[in-house]
Amino acid sequence: MEINLEDIFQNKIDNEVKIEPRDWMPEKYRKTLIRQISQHAHSEIVGMLPEGNWITRAPNLRRKVALLAKVQDEAGHGLYLYSAAETLGMTRDEMYNELHTGKAKYSSIFNYPTLSWADMGAIGWLVDGAAIMNQVPLCRTSYGPYARAMVRVCKEESFHQRQGYEIMMSLCNGTPEQKTMAQDALNRWWWPSIMMFGPNDDNSPNSAQSMKWKIKRFSNDELRQKFIDVTIPQAELLGLTVPDKDLKWNEARGHYDFGIINWDEFNNVVAGNGPCNKQRLKARVDAWNNGEWVRDAANAYAQKRKNRVKSGQQAA
């Protein structure tokens, strides 16, 4: 019987029929999705922190409203994704708990510090650019609620990247000091950005299953290559140099060749030892704990109003 259900399920996937919350699905599909979607949601939420750092110090009002709107979008993206994950049977509180206890991961890029205003440009351009590259294929992922959430996310994300690139352009067309700031930001964000696509394909054991289930549509290395190919001309347009001495156009492949990624650094940050892991997690845990009285008060108020309505009905 089990095998039969699994065949029906795979048949739907092969025919591009979306899986919806109450449909039968293999337990491992459910678990994989819960892990991936909640991790994605956590990344959006923690991703507000590095940029939130610069809202009060944005150089002018135009930059400030744009950054504020971007950070607010990220909160929204986190919420779309959390509710998509909840349709798979995990509660919001359980997901928060996994984040706060360090059991769940989030994108390791957000464990790097934002040292200058130019980092707002580099993050929008590179980090959001890499995220878009990852997210566009997810609009066609096999699980309906995840795909629908990603359509909303992608629609909103393109402004994020454009505002980042515009910041970089202003700095590169500004004083020599401003251009140096932009180059410094690129130097620091380049490698972490291309690590965002995850381990190399031959080192990514769950990828094959995720491709078969059409959770993923492209491999980590394919997406990484695509990102590098579109980003290099953008760096050239800014007059900036990508910090990779092995980077060069390969005519035969029709792609850029690039240097070896420092996976030790990546693994170290994922393991919790990046420059800001502790700070980021503490900010989330503090926000949760300090908000407890608000959540309780809102519950108590809602309960009181419910009781009032009930006693009113009884009287009538």
């Binding site: 919806e20 109450r22 449909d23 039968w24 709107a69 607010q72 979008d73 929204g76 919420l79 779309y80 509710s83 998509a84 909840e86 509660t91 919001r92 509180d93 359980e94 708990n97 629908r148 959430a149 909303r152 909103e156 959540r295 309780d296 809102a298 519950n299 108020y301 809602a302 109003r305």
Partner: protein
């Protein structure tokens, strides 16, 4: 832990006058007013709506997906419910 979790609400948005409300997602809120205000912030930041409905998720009932075939099968063989079932002369206009 979950006793204190705010209930889940399903959110429906009317994109513009003349269209029906459409399900857009869900969110947590302590009561319906908070649900509407949060839905405004989460789902209509770019003028996606002119009206919001919220329904507490545990008030929503649905058919069983594994009984889907039995529920919808009766409609599959009734092609006479479609206009193309009826064969009429080519010369006939406005029908």
């Amino acid at each position: 832990m979950n006793q204190n979790e705010w209930p889940l609400w399903e959110v429906f948005i009317r994109a513009k006058q003349g269209l029906s409300h459409k399900h857009v997602g869900s969110l947590h809120a302590a009561d319906y007013q908070m649900a509407i205000e949060n839905a405004r912030d989460v789902y209509t930041r770019r003028m996606e709506g002119v009206s919001i409905w919220v329904v507490e998720s545990n008030n929503l009932y649905a058919n069983e997906p594994n009984e889907q075939d039995a529920l919808f099968e009766p409609a599959t063989d009734k092609i006479y419910r479609h206009p193309t079932f009826y064969v009429l002369p080519e010369e006939l206009n406005h029908m």
